[in-house]
């Protein structure tokens, strides 16, 4: 639905994107990467917000730069605080040049999808951060775009709102292509069927969740936490877990050490292996 070919972007001497290529298919795709990996730059170049240094992006109908088929929710969203939710969405509908006769029904439909129909007459400024983000999702859904792009959609949301957002994305039609950019692996595991790992301006890995998790196969171990300092420095502690009442450090290591017990890799393990150069 979207094809990106050899996309490059440089800010002076800094190469933010070093030739990114992928194609976005229907379903939810996660774009994972640490802060500064180039995720937002990639999305902005892809959507024509900033001009790439080189490369090509083809949107759903084969065009470049046409954006009515694409809904985008940027990382920062909190605008039009003086307007009511209805007025704000009417403004977005006008910006999207929707036919006037379709606007009311489209607003109701979008608000129903984000469960905010009862807040139609509330001033945007009076809503909570999570609700404002849902208004943002509603604005993104206006006009039924076939491609949805969310940049760090759960950043700054409380746990309840994060769950609500995940439910909302999960309920979206599978015919749509949804791209979610985040550094929160948990969100991707809950929502996406495919994942791309972007690091240092390059796609370092991509595939299904299982394929990315498998990148860490043979590198995931449990280690007794009291002894981790005894091993050499070529491992990475990924977290801690309790197994049969005993505490263990979750370790990523290119080779096993004495006392290590193998464990099943997760998507997070695969992601960490990629970003730590262990693949």
């Amino acid at each position: 639905m979207i094809q990106v070919r050899d996309l490059k972007k440089a800010y002076g001497r800094v190469r933010a994107l070093k030739g990114v290529s992928f194609s976005l298919q229907p379903g939810v795709t996660g774009l994972l990467g640490p802060n500064g990996a180039g995720k937002t730059t990639l999305l902005r170049c892809m959507l024509g917000i900033i001009r790439p240094t080189s490369g090509d992006v083809r949107l759903p109908d084969g065009s470049r730069g046409q954006h009515r088929e694409v809904g985008y929710l940027p990382q920062r969203f909190g605008l039009l605080r003086e307007l009511t939710v209805h007025e704000a969405l009417a403004y977005f509908a006008a910006l999207k040049e929707m036919p006037p006769d379709d606007v009311e029904a489209a607003i109701d439909e979008a608000l129903r999808e984000v469960n905010l129909l009862d807040r139609k007459s509330t001033q945007v400024g009076a809503l909570s951060g999570g609700m404002i983000r849902r208004v943002g999702v509603a604005a993104t859904l206006l006009g039924c775009p076939t491609v949805l792009v969310f940049d760090e959609p759960t950043a700054g949301l409380d746990p309840e709102e994060r769950v609500r957002f995940k439910r909302l994305v999960a309920s979206l039609s599978p015919a749509r292509a949804v791209l979610i950019s985040t550094h929160i692996v948990e969100d991707i595991v809950a929502l996406a069927s495919r994942v791309m790992v972007l690091d240092g301006g390059e796609v370092r890995a991509s595939g299904t969740l299982e394929e990315v998790a498998n990148l860490a196969r043979g590198k995931c171990y449990f280690a007794p936490p009291g002894r981790v300092n005894e091993y050499s420095a070529d491992y990475f502690i990924d977290g801690y877990a309790e197994v049969d009442g005993q505490s263990f450090a979750k370790v990523l290591s290119p080779r096993p050490y004495e006392g290590f017990t193998p464990r099943t890799p997760s998507v997070e393990d695969g992601y960490l292996c990629v970003t730590r150069g262990m693949v």
């Binding site: 940027p74 990382q75 969203f77 605008l79 307007l83 007025e87 006008a94 006037p100």
Partner: protein
């Protein structure tokens, strides 16, 4: 019927958007009526001069600085930019024209009761358009509505009167009637406005991360 974008933009200005209608559409004409009825005849030309040279053009900067604030420095500017890939010069021009329409009460009082020359009205409209265009351009160039407002008011206070006098003097040399010089000053403002609208349009099409 689809409401024009400028309607939505100005709705978001809230109560602050009412400052120019109250000041220029209501208080200044009322003040002129009061001055006209006062017993101090010297007051009327002074009031008219301040209103026409300073106050009314200065208030013309208010709406554009407010209207593009969200697009320039608001939290949703990226989304607005994404959805509105075109520039904003048409919105700015519409704002300028609506502001000029708001001058009707003042112009009515001034033309009928204060010997206000029609050429002065033409010049006033040209000044207001210039201030609108300057604020629009400055807002996008400086990426700040407030700075644009301050800059434009400063230009209005410091630059516009001497500039008008300079054009006026050189125009009078080639015109024996004073009318020609007012048109010359107005024409300069209109040309400058067109240039600033074009520059502002170009700048507003570029996203600054």
């Amino acid at each position: 019927m689809r409401r024009p974008l400028v309607w939505h933009v100005m709705s978001n200005a809230g109560g602050y958007g009412l400052v120019p209608p109250i000041a220029v559409g209501l208080l200044l004409p009322m003040g002129l009526l009061l001055v006209e009825r006062s017993r101090i005849p010297q007051l009327k030309p002074v009031y008219l001069d301040y209103a026409v040279r300073l106050l009314i053009p200065a208030f013309a900067a208010w709406w554009p600085s407010l209207a593009f604030k969200e697009r320039i420095e608001g939290n949703g500017r990226e989304l607005l930019y994404f959805l509105r890939r075109k520039g904003e010069s048409v919105t700015a021009l519409l704002i300028g024209l609506v502001y000029c329409l708001m001058l009707i009460p003042f112009a009515s009082v001034a033309l009928t009761r204060a010997q206000f020359a029609p050429t002065s009205l033409y010049l006033l409209i040209a000044r207001c358009l210039f201030v609108t265009a300057l604020t629009f351009f400055a807002a996008f160039a400086l990426q700040s509505g407030v700075l644009a407002l301050v800059l434009t008011v400063a230009v209005n206070l410091v630059v516009m009167s001497p500039m008008e006098n300079a054009i006026d003097t050189s125009a009078l040399v080639s015109s024996t009637t004073g009318v020609g010089s007012a048109y010359a000053v107005g024409a300069v403002y209109v040309l400058l406005s067109a240039g600033l609208f074009c520059l502002g349009e170009m700048r507003s099409r570029r996203f600054t991360p």
